[in-house]
């Protein structure tokens, strides 16, 4: 496995002024965390300043095309609506297989649906390597009985899901019952069997960067294959500073244990520009080893159309209109 990039925020003191995760902050252990979990104080100002810098990289036209293709290949094309139907899911799967007419465009990484649509999605995607991810564990609130959530997970995996997106019990986490959150993640991981587990922290409800860092550490130690920012049902969803905190947690976890954990940014990423800001963040925090669909995902629906719009604009030189692209 490749080493994570050395070019990360704590290593770039000339750039960002201060490291945000394991720099100065790492030495402040508050002792609030449960057994063996170091509580890391995140320097909020430094994180925000550092995250803002990722948005100011100049990206030239040739690099833009590569960035658009990379972003497309990392999308978890998502529909999580009460009004979803098999028809809607099928349309989404067709779009996942061939987002646009240009054969140079990659397919997306996965589709993300509710458990009841997993079998149908698998059928449509038969023969392709597009993964099927499903949200389980009483998404989006996570407020149900543990055995119900575990049963839902097992049944979703049985239905054919390659990846399970679980939510943590934010109520328990915020009440300080970290042990319970840890145990529930571990139990869900066990219920997943061979399926990959993505743990949704729902950072919009965690209030502070310290909490985001603690929840990230907790989820990784409990066996998460991916940590994911948001359900997309709460504002704010994914933000750059939050992703940076999570990426630094992943980097530190990798350095400490040698275990690579993936990151999924979900919710609120609608434009190509935002997508490549995230790519820059991953590149400069975790390095090239994470810049693949196996280790970085963007959960989105409308983003794909904007990627297509910008792709077309690179080809024609004309600014495009959303009316010429399928609306889904």
């Amino acid at each position: 496995m490749n080493q994570p990039s050395k070019n990360s925020s704590s290593g770039q003191s000339s750039d960002s002024g201060a490291g945000s995760g394991n720099g100065a902050g790492a030495s402040h252990r508050t002792g609030r965390a449960p057994a063996g979990l170091p509580a890391i104080t995140v320097d909020a100002r430094a994180v925000e300043a550092r995250a803002a810098r990722f948005t100011r990289r100049s990206i030239k036209n040739e690099a833009k095309r590569a960035a658009l293709a990379a972003a497309m290949s990392m999308v978890d094309l998502t529909t999580l609506e009460g009004m979803d139907t098999p028809g809607k899911v099928e349309r989404l799967c067709r779009k996942a297989l061939q987002p646009g007419l240009d054969p140079r465009l990659p397919r997306v990484a996965a589709v993300c649906v509710y458990p009841t649509f997993v079998a149908h999605a698998r059928q449509v995607l038969e023969g392709s390597d597009v993964r099927v991810a499903a949200v389980a564990t009483a998404f989006p609130s996570g407020q149900s009985f543990l055995d119900v959530r575990l049963d839902e997970t097992r049944r979703t995996v049985d239905a054919g899901a390659h990846e399970i997106d679980m939510v943590i019990d934010r109520g328990a986490f915020l009440a300080g019952d970290h042990a319970r959150v840890f145990d529930e993640i571990a139990a869900t991981k066990e219920a997943c069997g061979a399926a990959h587990l993505k743990v949704i922290l729902e950072t919009g409800e965690l209030s502070t960067y310290d909490n985001v860092r603690t929840a990230s550490d907790l989820a990784m130690r409990a066996g998460a294959d991916f940590i994911k920012t948001s359900t997309g049902k709460i504002a704010p969803a994914s933000t750059m500073p939050v992703c940076l905190v999570m990426a630094e947690a992943i980097r530190d976890h990798y350095r400490a244990t040698g275990v690579q954990v993936g990151l999924k940014a979900a919710g609120g990423i609608r434009t190509s520009k935002q997508a490549w800001h995230y790519l820059v963040l991953i590149k400069e925090t975790l390095g090239d080893a994470w810049l693949t669909p196996d280790w970085f995902r963007i959960g989105a629906s409308s983003l794909v159309n904007d990627l297509l719009l910008q792709w077309e604009r690179l080809d024609t030189g004309r600014y495009q209109s959303a009316v010429y692209f399928s609306n889904d």
Partner: protein, 302 residues
Amino acid sequence: MSTNHNGSAGQSSDREPVRKTYKLYVGGAFVRSESGYALRQNDVNGAFFANCAKASRKDLRDAIGAARTAFGGWSTRSAFNRSQILFRLAEMIEGRRATFVELLGSLCGRDRAAAEREVSTVIDRVFWYAGWCDKFTQILGGVNPIASPYNNFTVAEPTGVVVLLAPRSAGLIGLVTALLPALAAGNACVLVADDDLPVIALELGEALATSDVPAGAVNVLSGTTSELLPHAADHMDVNAIGSFGRGADDERELGQRAASNIKRVAVFAARSHDEWCDASAQSPYFVERFVEWKTSWHPVGV
């Protein structure tokens, strides 16, 4: 004019004047150009008057994006409400009468009486189009006679996002004459003022911002129109372009590039300043240039 609008008159000579830099009006906010370029506005004697933001291709794209976002809300308001809002715009220009009169004097060299006349004509023209908002559909649309058991209606609907290339050197009246027909029809507009009189256009942006015109329904850019024209004509999310007195070369280029997404191109011939002020420069048939026709068949006599 002995006084400078930008405020040095009447001040003791050791005071450094605080000069106003005029900004673009995009999506309801006043923005500097993304490019960082500026236009220098001189007064009629060639002396420096003010700096204005110079719109780039990206500013144009942002303005078109803002117009697209605003279009739904603006076009689906009741026609009567659009009428009220345009009337409010007339009120806001009236409230800035002294400023506009002074600008027309300093920048265009109009004497006071002529400047007052122009501003009055402008206000009357805005008011006139405000009145047309809920009337042009009756005049232009209709019930069609057909020989089968249906009611058949043809109604006018706004075209969408419209870029208006305002006439050069035509003062405030040129801007308003270019903007109002498309706006009254319910289109979301990007008004592009050429680089000869940017201050007057951006001052109009300030009047628009304080009227009740929703953010993004009108965006005002000042820049070199000939630079922005190809990008506006190429943009696939622009539905119509109004070209006012641009000349044959620009009109040919517009026509060719607009073919990309079959934009409507409404060309208005050049006029003298007096002719822009004349009543012949306003008409419900100018509104017609920025609408689409929808014909619906409805069964009757079942």
